[in-house]
Assembly symmetry: C2
Homo-oligomer: 463 residues x 2
């Protein structure tokens, strides 16, 4: 008989109550006395367990009574309502079969473990309550992102992971090579001869798919990327990983205002989707990880985001500069402490800060008429600060060329990016959302290592 999923029992209880059912799953807890016992079984389909009651009418009662935690079993029995108990129903077992006996050394015993310890057993931690909740939410959030964009007709683009261009220019990159490191080929002037490498040139792991995304937006109008990106930054913090996933939509015939509207709609959509589709998990986070989480998320979903310019933000912040470790001054980038003050203390809701000084922003952002600021936006949210960064892109060929030269970069490296302006460019805009940061935000988890299945960080690439 095919196993019924525990999720089905919880979501369609009426259909199965008083019926014979078969389930299969892993033992989370087992208590027994001389003649009967209780097993909490989790089958992976649902956050909650189901309670299985068994007694000594089972022919293998003794074997079952002694099963170690995490053993996998197949249970046949009747699903019975338990109106006076904590759980809504339980299974009275008529047969329990052992599918896989666990060792008694199973490291995830019932007592609570620290997140630090659980990172060392990343292959087992999704069996714990906290991580089963985190990684189901991660899956649902990823799907919500796809659904949001696909329902609006956006085209999903797989931009390249291995990049041969220096054009992205955003921080430290990982080299990708098949050269023999003990015997690297050299050119006559003593440099590495990358013409001998796999791709015939220097290659790295991408830090962003934006530039390629723009090429596709100028064909499909509305596109998004969703893929892994990499930073070889030597930052051992709770917010940095060397490998993380990013979402980068790009929209043509659109300006900064359209971009902000899209960002607001998207963020609200993801949060709503996760709250509706993982209520048990969100309840868990709210109770055990981050009290007040659900209220904060509901506040986001129900508020109209605020918009102020960078210049206005600096005016506000300068008045309270004594509160900050880093005083604010026009021309400097905002720190997390400033961002959080704006969104948490001043506006008490998400805030777009727009029109940053051009000197602290990337070359591709559209210069405003004042020639001092660019049409950029950062979305700040309570509890975290910046969660999204975007801009209108410079569509004017001459302005873009001048800016590339001004920044000391090579025009030739950008030949195809400039082509996009030569051959029928349009106003266009886009933004980037760091997926892990969004998951941390929605779950209250405070270390990025705890929202990535097998995290890669400085000096750590286990599993």
């Amino acid at each position: 008989m095919k196993s019924l999923l525990i999720k089905e029992m919880y979501r369609n209880t009426e259909k199965f109550i008083n019926q014979s059912v078969t389930i299969s799953g892993w033992i989370r807890t087992l208590r027994n006395s001389k003649a009967f016992g209780f097993i909490e079984v989790n089958d992976g389909s649902f956050f909650k367990n189901i309670q299985v009651v068994f007694d000594d009418t089972l022919q293998n009662f003794n074997e079952i009574s002694k099963l170690p935690i995490s053993s996998s079993i197949i249970v046949e029995g009747k699903l019975e309502a338990t109106p006076n108990a904590k759980q809504p129903f339980e299974i009275k077992a008529t047969k329990i079969e052992v599918e896989g006996l666990s060792s008694t050394e199973y490291p995830l015993q019932k007592k609570r473990h620290s997140f630090e310890y659980l990172r060392t057993i990343a292959h087992l931690r999704p069996r714990s309550n906290a991580f089963s909740a985190v990684f189901r939410v991660r899956s649902l959030a990823a799907y919500a992102i796809h659904k949001f964009f696909q329902d609006r007709g956006f085209v999903y683009v797989h931009t390249p992971i291995i990049t041969g261009s220096d054009a992205e220019g955003a921080g430290d990159m990982f080299r990708v090579t098949t050269l023999d490191l003990l015997n690297t080929p050299k050119t006559d002037d003593g440099e590495i001869d990358f013409s001998k490498d796999f791709f015939g040139k220097e290659t790295n792991l991408t830090v962003s798919g934006q530039l390629e995304g723009e090429a596709y937006a100028l064909a499909f109008r509305n596109i998004y990327t969703f893929g892994p990106t990499f930073r070889a930054e030597n930052s051992n913090t709770t917010r940095h990983a060397a490998e993380f996933w990013m979402i980068e939509p790009e929209i043509a015939f659109a300006d900064l205002k359209d971009d902000m509207e899209l960002a607001e709609d998207m963020l609200k959509y993801i949060i709503r989707y996760v709250m509706e589709n993982a209520p048990e998990e969100m309840e868990f986070f709210n109770s055990f990880v981050d009290k007040g989480l659900i209220e904060r998320l509901e506040n986001i979903v129900n508020s109209d985001f605020e918009t102020i310019t960078y210049t206005e933000a600096v005016d506000i912040l300068e008045k309270v500069n004594d509160k900050f470790d880093y005083p604010v001054e026009w021309g400097l980038d905002l720190q997390t402490e400033h961002e959080r003050y704006l969104t948490e203390e001043v506006f008490k809701k998400p805030v777009f800060v727009t029109d940053y000084p051009k000197d602290i922003k990337a070359f591709y952002m559209r210069i405003n008429d004042d020639n001092k600021t660019v049409a950029a936006m950062d979305l700040l949210v309570p509890g975290i600060g910046e969660i999204i960064g975007g801009s209108q892109r410079e569509e004017r060929l001459d302005v873009l060329e001048a800016r590339i030269k001004e920044m000391g970069m090579n025009l030739e490296d950008y030949w195809w990016y400039l082509d996009l302006r030569k051959y029928g460019g349009t106003k266009h805009a886009g933004f980037g959302l760091g997926f892990e940061r969004a998951i941390m935000y929605m779950t209250g988890m405070s270390n990025i290592r705890d929202v990535i299945p097998f995290p890669r960080t400085v000096k750590s690439a286990e599993f």
Copy 2:
């Protein structure tokens, strides 16, 4: 006024006919005479263009008449039905504004270009009919995969891209490093000192997320991965890319039969989804790229797949060995010519071939009772051969350990993979689908470089 999307006009024509509309898009063709002209505009939202009619009542008639192909424009006018024309409707322009003037050197003029040439302008080729169709289908197929699994409660897992383990053992890998190649640190015995590298150890790009996927299947029961994978194979063929995307579902409490059922359901679902959601694109492929494509796909969707064992397949093939470049013999792997003969000539529909000799398959596949074969399956489809490969995994700790040793691999490298058998293992199974191969199959495109936005192959990593 916000632009109406061309897709909307085609899908909900009644709503917009005889209405004033504004559209924005790129000029695909422009014909004009002294007093009027016709522009085919594509706005990226839809495969088809819309015809815009303009005449010399436009104040900028002369400017518009001379616009180069690919210029972007914003058009206001009335949508009128054209019952006697090829196209169902057109816009009578009352105003045309130039958003971005294209250079007359635009390389994608109306004449047909070879796919080879278009690869050199990969940033512009999605503006052509063929590639707009390919990459919209790619996007829809990706979404269909997510939707298929999410609707069934599968958890989407991001397995790591950078891997510190040698455990996958599937072919040539790309090294990932931040070491200075001109000055690599050495250990005392003259080897590269990887403890100085970013991750403190040797790291490569993943070739498969399966092993990590298994860890998650033994927590969430049903999971899937969908991410980039890499092979540093020096194969310059129409079917090999160094970077490609893979889908790898993994299901617990499941055997090979469940695995085949899942593969069949999934493949049919994706094909159906794409045919329903991209009918114009599929019609294009059927007419211009691969005549007979739609019939072949409909045949797949409507047939029950066949299942035979490898041994039966060899029996069938040996009888016609004179047809093949490589004669068939029990114990050798099947070649594409054999696979295609089975699916195209013998069964004329998709065929699962199961229970391959263990010596030609991977260490993790479950040994059958005959101790000669493993519970593996390959799905062969007409026109292409193998499209999916999968297996039931060896869940018996002792058997798996023996097999790892027998193959000369290191038990310690697999400590966590073996843990999955120690702590409540279950029957489980999974398969891999190469995403690009599926796209080639559904579009009839015959070169993998033409289904990847910016392909990475031997000696080529442009854009």
